[in-house]
């Protein structure tokens, strides 16, 4: 494969305001924008009496083309005519002084997370959102082991999430009551959690084993294929998984045996509180907080163990690893298995929170969102995952709040429709602007004398 040289600057170098050239470029942009937007936006097909007809919307096309061309013109006049400062490619300081305040960020975040449900003004919606964000943080941390530490690109991570969710759903609704009687149901979540983790880890090994020799994009596409296989099987194996309809009526978690119900024997009555539905939400919040922190704790400890160092060595240079006698097979498999295990835990939690699982929840897009969280945060950075999860999942929610746009825009405009479009576009832009993620410093695994942060430029991405 030929090595790809870094692209020369897209724009020519010295740039004064050359009206003719700019006009030509803006016109060209407008023509391309028209070709792209014209047919798809301008001619909307709709079904009418068994065949299709076209609705013409050239006004809309004109507006969009004008926006694109105007944006291009504004860029020419405001941004590209400034003399370009050459970005220095040299790494200025190989090791940076460790930021003093950095070590307080994580404990402050944890403290904030612990008191969050009790902050005045925090209602059910915010706690629900926090649960969602924490679920993605946990998934991000789990995937960070595979992608960030071991450098193995996994696009099918959601398969393990699905394994965990279906393990809990099936065990709690069918198998545990059948084997041990209904009395076990309040405890089902706590009994199933480790089983789901083990099953997901097992699947991590099963799916990881065949792909050990693959690298890079090939590994990515095969893991994607495995993720889709799991989903297709979930859809079609109706006898076992309930097919496309999924599994409903999954028992909600109990407070260690005390169900969140009104009246005698419930959580509220036991502790002498007034019954409120939010108790269950807050309990779920703490469950996922503990699970997420556990994921982080295990990851941080593993990095100090031989296996964690082997992961990072594998990411830096696989051939050197092999020649130093590291068993790359078992190193890769442990990374897959442990990453999958955390996805299995998160899946169980997802099932108990939703009370319903179906293959719809485990599409490729989920894998991609989790991978984006890891990459946007900065591969291998634990705090970066938190930042990225808040940004991405928060952005999804912000689109629900944009109701004022409905007043401004034409009728039938629903901002929620646009959120995936916006997230896709944002990912492209962020990759241009910060390809190595938000957090660009890594903590070293091993230190001599004093701890210094490492710029990401010095960290390899791995080959596989």
């Amino acid at each position: 494969m030929a090595e790809v040289p870094k692209s020369t600057n897209v724009m020519p170098e010295a740039r004064s305001i050359a009206a003719a050239a700019i006009a030509k470029d803006v016109l060209f942009t407008a023509v391309i924008a028209f070709i792209i937007l014209g047919p798809i936006v301008g001619l909307k097909t709709f079904a009418i009496s068994g065949s299709l007809a076209l609705e013409q919307r050239w006004g809309l096309v004109t507006v969009f083309v004008a926006i694109v061309a105007g944006g291009r013109l504004a860029y020419h006049l405001l941004v590209w005519n400034k003399p370009q400062a050459r970005p220095s490619r040299a790494i200025s300081a190989p090791v940076l002084p460790f930021m003093n305040y950095a070590k307080y960020i994580a404990p402050a975040l944890v403290a904030f997370a612990i008191i969050l449900p009790f902050i005045p003004g925090v209602d059910r919606r915010i706690v629900d959102l926090a649960i969602l964000i924490l679920t993605y943080i946990m998934l991000g941390w789990g995937l960070n082991i595979v992608v960030g530490l071991a450098g193995l690109l996994d696009l099918g991570y959601v398969a393990f999430y699905a394994v965990g969710a279906y393990a809990y759903a099936l065990l709690a609704t069918i198998y545990l009551p059948a084997w041990f009687g209904d009395g076990i149901v309040p405890w089902a979540f706590f009994i199933t959690l480790p089983i789901a983790g083990v099953l997901a880890a097992l699947w991590g090994v099963i799916l990881g084993f065949p792909v050990l020799r693959l690298r890079g994009d090939y590994l990515a596409i095969v893991t994607l294929a495995f993720g889709e296989i799991v989903r297709v099987v979930l859809i079609n194996w109706s006898d076992f998984t309930g097919g496309p309809a999924g599994i409903g009526g999954i028992p909600r978690p109990s407070f260690f045996g005390l169900p969140f119900i009104e009246g005698e024997g419930g959580f509220a009555a036991f502790f002498g509180l007034d019954f409120k539905p939010i108790h269950r939400i807050i309990f779920l919040y703490y469950v996922i907080l503990v699970l997420a922190l556990f994921t982080n704790f295990v990851t941080m400890r593993l990095r100090r163990l031989p296996v964690g160092r082997a992961w990072e060595a594998l990411r830096e240079d696989e051939i050197a690893c092999r020649s130093l006698g590291i068993n790359t097979t078992s190193t890769k498999l442990t990374a897959f298995a442990i990453g999958a295990m955390f996805a299995g835990f998160a899946g169980s939690f997802f099932a108990t929170r939703q009370g319903f699982v179906s293959p719809e929840s485990f599409v490729f897009l989920e894998s991609f969102i989790i991978l984006s969280i890891v990459v946007l945060g900065g591969l291998g950075s634990q705090i970066g995952v938190v930042v990225a999860a808040i940004v991405i999942i928060g952005a999804f929610e912000v689109f629900r709040e944009l109701n004022f746009l409905k007043a401004v825009m034409p009728a039938g405009f629903d901002p929620v429709q646009y959120r995936m479009l916006a997230v896709g576009a944002a990912l492209v832009l962020i990759m241009r602007w910060k390809p190595r993620g938000f957090v660009t410093r890594r903590e070293p695994s091993v230190v001599l004398k004093e701890k210094k942060a490492i710029p990401t430029d010095l960290v390899a991405e791995g080959h596989g």
């Binding site: 494969m1 798809i40 001619l43 889709e228 990459v375 896709g424 990912l427 990759m431 390809p435």
Partner: protein, 311 residues
């Protein structure tokens, strides 16, 4: 026997379509070493543009033979131009600024672009599947002797003939471009050693742009044929077809154009025979499992060069 022959015809038809999409993957991967995840969606856009053009031109199955052929040629050209503009823009916006960046950046950017295209079409054209009455109708019955005895009749429809002939013509054309023209020589040299090619005066950015345009043009034709063959399209068809076409490209040996075609035929045949003889529900599993098996056991593909690991 008749049943087998029928499935063979169907498989070759489907495989031709996959092969055309796969050429776009294989050319891009050959030159810049990345999976153009948005390629499947460019294929989908090609199908949608064809649909819009067909409705706008008012072509129906009732028009005569020559009007339909002329109109379809026109539709093909429109779809090629518009899909090329899409792929060119995708390369310009999402890939070129990231050339030489970190390995994961183009991949994320490509998947992001794929989502953008899907969502764009979904929002602009609403999410419902778009059906169309068949335009190319009629066909031939082979082995009609069997029909008299009330047995299975093998049909070769005009649509299938159209697809197979178009694919053959395009294959010949593109092979000629790659092997005989200076543009093809520039592409092959970029594939071998991009730095050296640029030192020898080849405009790399232009060559890569043209590669994306060529891939998109073929994908647009495939989009039109896929849409006419199945009579329905929606914004999501690009994802599955894209993965299968990528499988075809890998199976044939990435970077090899005849390989992409062979791979496409094999994937098409596997999918059709699996649906015919086993279960239709798991036909996608068969394709995915094929992908995994090929990458694991035959990573260089049928016509590809084995990759040598350098220390």
């Amino acid at each position: 026997m008749e049943y087998f022959l029928q499935q063979l015809i169907n498989g070759i038809t489907l495989g031709s379509i996959y092969g055309l999409i796969a050429i776009g993957y294989t050319m891009v991967y050959g030159i810049i070493g990345m999976i153009n995840f948005a390629h499947g969606d460019v294929f989908m856009v090609g199908g949608f543009v064809s649909l819009i053009a067909i409705v706008a031109l008012g072509i129906t199955g009732g028009s005569g033979f020559f009007p339909i052929i002329l109109a379809l040629v026109l539709v093909v050209f429109i779809a090629m131009i518009i899909a090329s503009a899409y792929n060119w823009t995708v390369e310009r916006v999402a890939y070129r600024p990231l050339r030489g960046s970190f390995r994961l950046a183009p991949l994320i950017s490509a998947i992001g672009m794929s989502i953008v295209l899907q969502e764009f079409v979904r929002i602009a054209q609403d999410g419902r599947p778009k059906p169309l009455q068949p335009i190319v109708t009629g066909g031939y019955e082979i082995m009609s002797r069997a029909a008299a005895q009330g047995e299975f009749i093998v049909r070769l429809s005009n649509m299938q003939i159209f697809i197979i002939i178009t694919t053959l013509v395009l294959m010949a054309l593109f092979t000629a471009i790659i092997t005989r023209t200076s543009l093809g020589r520039a592409q092959r040299s970029c594939e071998q050693d991009m730095k050296m090619a640029s030192l020898l005066g080849i405009d790399i950015n232009k060559t890569i742009s043209i590669t994306f345009i060529m891939g998109a043009a073929l994908a647009a034709v495939a989009g039109l044929m896929f849409f006419l063959y199945y009579g329905v399209t929606d914004f999501y068809v690009g994802f599955l077809a894209g993965i299968k076409a990528f499988t075809a490209a890998v199976l044939g040996g990435i970077g090899s154009i005849p390989g992409a075609m062979i791979g496409g035929l094999i994937i098409g045949l596997i999918e059709v025979f699996w649906s015919a003889y086993f279960t239709i529900e798991y036909k996608d599993v068969a394709a995915f499992a094929m992908l995994a098996a090929v990458l694991i056991f035959l990573p260089q593909g049928i016509l590809g060069k084995p990759e040598v690991e350098k220390v």
